[in-house]
């Protein structure tokens, strides 16, 4: 363990999770092909190559304070080109997973969006775009974000592409049982 806070032998859940994720990139030789292949790299605070080094070393705060993994759009170019064949895109997703679970995010947009999405899917089995966006805006509690999407919302509505269906407020969700079982099994691991 290299990380400073872990020196006192007090490992948090995200430390343990990060060690697990670190196995994915253990063989990274820092060639930088991932960074060179990444369309979002110039907007990242640290490059993918640097991120893997920090993940390998278990530098929890540096990893999770970075916005790098949130900027991964899952284009899979890095995964395709990695000369070591490492599952880099999946590793970005694993970091999003830990950050969401542990509340390591400054910009709430990504985790709140994903949460709204999954809630709607649990409820109806399928995405209802209008209700999902409504839920997302409500959770963000930021009218400016909602307003910035209004022109698109109107355009889609005029074209009849988003149906305003009555949300159901009560009753069991379509995929309640599936979600419950997933949580049960994951907790048991």
């Amino acid at each position: 363990m290299v990380h400073s806070e872990a020196r006192d032998m007090h490992m948090s859940a995200s430390d343990v999770a990060l060690i697990e994720v670190g196995k994915n990139v253990q063989a990274c030789m820092q060639c930088g092909t991932c960074t060179g292949s990444c369309g979002s790299a110039d907007k990242m605070d640290i490059t993918p190559r640097q991120l893997w080094k920090l993940v390998q070393g278990g530098f929890r705060e540096e990893v999770f304070n970075s916005r790098t993994f949130w900027l991964c759009s899952s284009c899979y170019f890095c995964t395709l080109r990695c000369p070591r064949g490492l599952p880099l895109t999946d590793t970005m997703a694993a970091l999003k997973r830990i950050a969401t679970a542990e509340g390591w995010f400054k910009d709430r947009k990504s985790p709140f969006f994903y949460r709204a999405f999954l809630d709607i899917v649990r409820k109806y089995g399928r995405v209802r775009e209008a209700e999902m966006m409504g839920k997302y805006f409500l959770a963000l509690a930021n009218p400016a974000v909602a307003l910035s999407f209004t022109p698109l919302g109107i355009k889609l509505m005029v074209k009849g592409k988003i149906a305003l269906q009555m949300p159901s407020f009560s009753g069991p969700g379509k995929l309640d049982n599936l979600y419950r079982k997933v949580m049960e099994l994951e907790a048991a691991q």
Binding site: S73, S74, T79, L178
Partner: protein
């Protein structure tokens, strides 16, 4: 040609015209699409940010539904994100017995199970390899001569599962476009990323990616897409990126089955071009003048 048809959530909403044109085109080509009864969301890119097991169980539920019917057919998917998730669930369950056991324990809740063996196919794969350019050429009634088309593949139809095309420099659309009598726009952006979900959560990043694609497409009459997320991202931000780059980056964007349908003279209600968000005036004039149709 008989397929399980999995439209996916976008095709019920913002990508209605994709669903309509896929059904119309495949029907006209003599393929039978059997929509999967009771299908549910594949998890998109959201499930994997919450739980790995959920990201497996959501797509696997649909594969299990198909397996349960006992019908032997490939699983046809027009959305690239759905395609990737379904492929990934099948791949991981086939190669990792622990994952397969866990997913099947979840599926038991729905009285389902999946043992693998279904073949998941992207719409483009089916058009390029099952249908093929010869059949498209034979079915073309109105040659799209003089129309220049920029084939846009995006990411997840090609990567990480590179089944039917080169994941760096894809060409599977070329022959289909030429079969219609149209020209292929010479560019190298076909496999680059549109930003996907970042358009919602990290707009500044996605706009940059879209601007590069639209810029490289200039000179073509339209872009052809095979994914609802790509289509939407390329359509909705044209004004913003034009302002950002200080030049007009507007261009018409069509779903590939809409484009093929134009050549085959499918009726307008099978194409629903009126639902597209980015059809330039010049393209509409071409359509109205019957130059395209």
């Amino acid at each position: 040609m008989k397929y399980f048809y999995y439209p996916g959530c976008s095709l019920e909403g913002s990508a209605k015209e994709y669903d309509i044109s896929v059904r119309a085109l495949m029907g006209a080509l003599g393929a039978e699409l059997e929509e999967l009864d009771d299908w549910t969301c594949c998890g998109a890119s959201a499930a994997d940010t919450s739980s790995y097991l959920l990201s497996m169980a959501l797509p696997a539920r649909n594969l299990a539904l198909a397996a349960k019917t006992g019908m032997h057919a490939d699983f046809l998917v027009p959305c690239s994100a759905c395609y990737l998730n379904l492929m990934r669930a099948d791949d991981h369950m086939s190669h990792d017995s622990r994952t397969a056991d866990l997913v099947n324990e979840v599926l038991k809740e729905e009285e389902l199970s999946y043992k693998g063996g279904l073949r998941v196919r992207h719409l483009l794969d089916v058009l390029a390899r099952d249908v093929g350019p010869e059949k498209i050429a034979a079915a073309t009634k109105k040659s799209l001569t003089g129309l220049s088309v920029a084939p846009y593949y995006g990411c997840q139809a090609l990567r990480p599962y590179s089944v039917f095309d080169n994941p760096e420099q894809p060409t599977s659309m070329d022959a289909l476009i030429r079969a219609l009598g149209a020209d292929v726009h010479d560019w190298s952006m076909g496999a680059k990323c549109c930003g996907a979900g970042l358009m919602t959560t990290k707009e500044e990043v996605a706009l940059n990616l879209v601007a590069d694609i639209l810029d490289a497409a200039q000179g073509a009459d339209c872009i052809a897409t095979v994914c609802p997320m790509c289509q939407m991202n390329l359509e909705i931000s044209q004004k913003k990126v034009s302002k950002m780059r200080g030049k007009d980056l507007g261009i018409s964007v069509l779903y590939l089955p809409q484009l093929i349908g134009l050549g085959m003279e499918l009726p307008a209600d099978g194409l629903r071009l009126d639902l597209n968000l980015a059809l330039t005036e010049s393209f509409q004039r071409l359509l109205a003048a019957g130059a395209v149709r």
